[in-house]
């Protein structure tokens, strides 16, 4: 019985050693990957901030104004006049035309009128 125990212990020890080394290597690989990812994130953040800087450079009012000035004639642009700004409720109602059902009757009247006058 003691002998069996010894055998089991040796096997367990060997198994444990293999397992521990596996875990160790896996941990190293994971750490390396984490570092890699971190580096990649840093790079992406750098790129993002660079692109943001470029975005705001391209959106500078001075630059936009220059572009607009260059294409004013082509696009038929002109500065906004305060008189062009108003609220929706200040606009007059659209004049409503005759309902479709009335249209036939109306044109009949019209025809009759013009016919008579001739």
């Amino acid at each position: 019985m003691m002998r069996w125990l010894q055998v089991v212990c040796v096997i367990a020890a060997a198994g444990a050693a293999v397992f521990v080394f596996q875990v160790k290597y896996r941990a190293e690989a994971v750490a390396e990957r984490a570092t890699d990812l971190q580096r990649q994130i840093d790079r992406e953040v750098e790129t993002t901030s660079l692109l943001e800087a470029e975005w705001s450079l391209l959106n500078q009012p001075a630059r936009v104004q220059e572009v607009v000035d260059r294409h004013t004639e082509l696009l038929g642009l002109q500065p906004l006049d305060p008189a062009q700004i108003t609220k929706l409720e200040n606009l007059p109602m659209r004049p409503s035309g005759p309902a479709p059902s009335d249209e036939a009757a109306l044109s009949a009247i019209l025809q009759a009128e013009t016919g008579e006058s001739e």
Binding site: T35, W55, S56, Q60, A62, P82, I85, T86
Partner: protein, 573 residues
């Protein structure tokens, strides 16, 4: 084998133990059990330690990366009130050497100079020949240069990643933002303020990591800022002026939405900062503001109760005080009502009002408006006003009534002007966003609501009927006061060199924004035409308002609600 050689307990245990257990055998078992318990304990401790390490996350991060990124200090981005980037950090490489590891300084020098021809060969060789641990060779090199040097593979030469400040707008808001030195430390404007307010402390405590800093918002609106600068640049060209100042202020919160002083400098080019012609004339320069001060004098007289808006003042002849003669530019030679004094910009009328209030009253009033003390904003650069020593002579009181004899900064004037139209509260201007509730706690009552209301009408009347006519923008109810100050040269006033100002606010039924424009030494637009404030500062102000009002969401009104009350005031007897 059986019992004949009792050499060891081990023998017994192996050979005969299973059949006939004796004392020695029992002892052996106990020892083995003890050893097993010991190992179990040991591995148990290891296992627990492992679990503890696993739970705490462990320090697998490499520390070298942090060293590299922290080489030059990171700064928070600066954004405008709408979140548009005004300043940001971008990464650049700095070339450095560890001279003690450089094997062949001569060869290394030649190789580096082949990529960076602008370097001084002799100096570089000297640096590389030393036994130093670290030396910068060139900072802020381009990615292409970095690549080329990297390919040369010189031992003892390396790169450090550094933060470099970048201002996408270039000069657009340079006087507010300021700039930084090569170590990314603020040396002017908001950049310096940020350092002094918190960044230096954060860095000392080690909390200013690369992405740990939140963007710092400023009160500017990039679009408004651009319009102000653009219109000033155009005005400088049109009137061949030597300088211009434009300020847009929220009258209720004191936030500066736009502040420009041209000529200005590019924040990306810190060398220009030192050019004295590019100084911040809006906050640092102090000037005699001229007739714009009559607005303060009229407000003072009305608020003290000494004059009512229907009162008249004798402007039939020049006022003689202590050997000085105070006269009007275009004298009406009659008694003028308060609105007339305002719109005809009568020196005599303003002088008589100030005399009626008295020197003490004038001093107190100017003090209340913050005109006598240095203005404190976030900007480190600020100009101290030049004020005559108390007690003021009678003639000093008189000249101050129309803006001569004392010099204040345009920003100070704008802040005081806001108090005239916002209902009578002085709010110190700020370059950080400020909520209206915060402003309310900071506000200092200066005028009664009634006086402020009268001032609004007077300002509006002056644009409808007076000198500010060319600032009118249909629908926005603009009101304003001109100021044409002759400049002092060699101790004398010269009549052909002027500093013109226009102090305006809109919409006058409930003012939201104040615009102050100052144009330095404008020439007549065409020969024979005037060069007073009404013909250059006023139209420039009008152009600015026309462009910024839609951006700021001010609604143009088809029927101007400010017109009638202003006219009623003019005809009041």
């Amino acid at each position: 084998m059986s019992g004949s050689a009792p050499a060891s307990a081990w023998h017994h245990a192996n050979g005969a133990g299973s059949r006939k257990p004796n004392r020695v055998d029992r002892l052996g078992r106990q020892r083995v059990a003890l050893a097993m318990a010991g190992f179990c304990l040991l591995f148990g401790v290891l296992a627990i330690r492992l679990v503890v390490l696993g739970a705490s996350g462990g320090d697998t991060d490499d520390n070298g990366r942090h060293f590299v990124l922290a080489a030059s200090q990171a700064r928070p981005d600066i954004v405008d009130r709408n979140g548009e980037t005004l300043a940001t950090d971008i990464k650049t490489a700095a070339l450095f050497a560890e001279p003690r590891y450089v094997i062949d300084p001569d060869e290394a020098t030649e190789l580096i100079v082949s990529v960076l021809p602008e370097l001084d060969r002799g100096r570089l060789r000297r640096i590389l020949s030393t036994d130093a641990k670290f030396a910068y060779i060139k900072r802020e090199i381009t990615p292409r240069q970095q690549q080329a040097i990297h390919k040369l593979g010189i031992p003892g030469i390396g790169f450090r990643v550094e933060n470099r400040r970048f201002y996408p707008g270039g000069p657009v808001a340079s006087h507010v933002l300021g700039t930084v030195n090569i170590d990314n430390r603020g040396i002017a404007g908001m950049e310096k303020h940020i350092d002094e307010a918190f960044l230096n402390d954060l860095q000392a405590a080690g909390f200013a990591g690369d992405h740990a800093l939140k963007p710092v918002p400023v009160s500017l609106d990039l679009r408004v800022q651009h319009v102000v600068r653009d219109e000033l640049s155009k005005a400088m060209e049109r009137y061949q002026a030597i300088a211009g100042v434009g300020i847009v202020l929220d009258v209720n919160t004191g936030e500066v939405l736009g502040m420009s002083s041209v000529p200005d400098y590019d924040s990306n080019n810190r060398d220009e900062l030192l050019d004295p012609n590019r100084l911040n004339r809006a906050a640092v320069g102090v000037y005699e503001m001229g007739s714009t001060f009559k607005a303060f004098t009229v407000a003072m007289a009305l608020n003290s109760g000494i004059a009512k808006v229907t009162d008249s003042f004798d402007a039939t002849h020049a006022l003689r005080v202590g050997g000085f003669s105070i006269d009007d530019f275009h004298g009406k030679r009659r008694w003028l009502t308060v609105p007339e004094v305002f719109i005809y910009s009568s020196n005599i009328g303003a002088a008589r009002m100030a005399l009626a209030v008295g020197t003490e009253g004038q001093h107190d009033f100017f003090e209340q408006l913050g005109l006598l003390d240095t203005l404190n904003t976030e900007l480190p650069e600020t100009g101290a006003p030049i004020i005559p020593k108390m007690p003021w002579a009678k003639v000093t009181t008189i000249t101050m009534a129309f803006g001569h004899g004392m010099s204040v900064s345009p920003l100070q004037t704008a802040a005081a002007g806001a108090a005239l139209v916002n209902g009578g509260f002085y709010v110190s201007p700020t370059f950080r966003p400020r909520a209206i509730e915060t402003a309310a706690t900071l506000a200092r009552p200066v005028l009664t609501a009634e006086t402020s209301d009268t001032m609004r009408k007077l300002f509006r009347l002056n644009v409808m009927k007076g000198s500010g006519r060319r600032a009118e923008v249909e629908g926005y109810g603009v009101g304003g006061k001109t100021g044409t100050a002759e400049k002092v040269e060699n101790g004398r006033y010269v009549s052909d060199k002027r500093r013109n100002a226009f102090l305006a606010a809109f919409p006058m039924d409930a003012p939201k924004y104040l615009v102050l424009v100052v144009i330095d030494e404008p020439k007549p637009e065409a020969p024979g035409r005037g060069a007073t404030a009404g013909s250059n500062a006023a139209p420039t102000t009008g152009n600015i308002i026309r462009r910024i009002a839609p951006m700021l969401g001010v609604e143009p009104k088809a029927v101007d609600p400010t017109e009638e009350p202003a006219l009623a005031l003019a005809s009041a007897r």
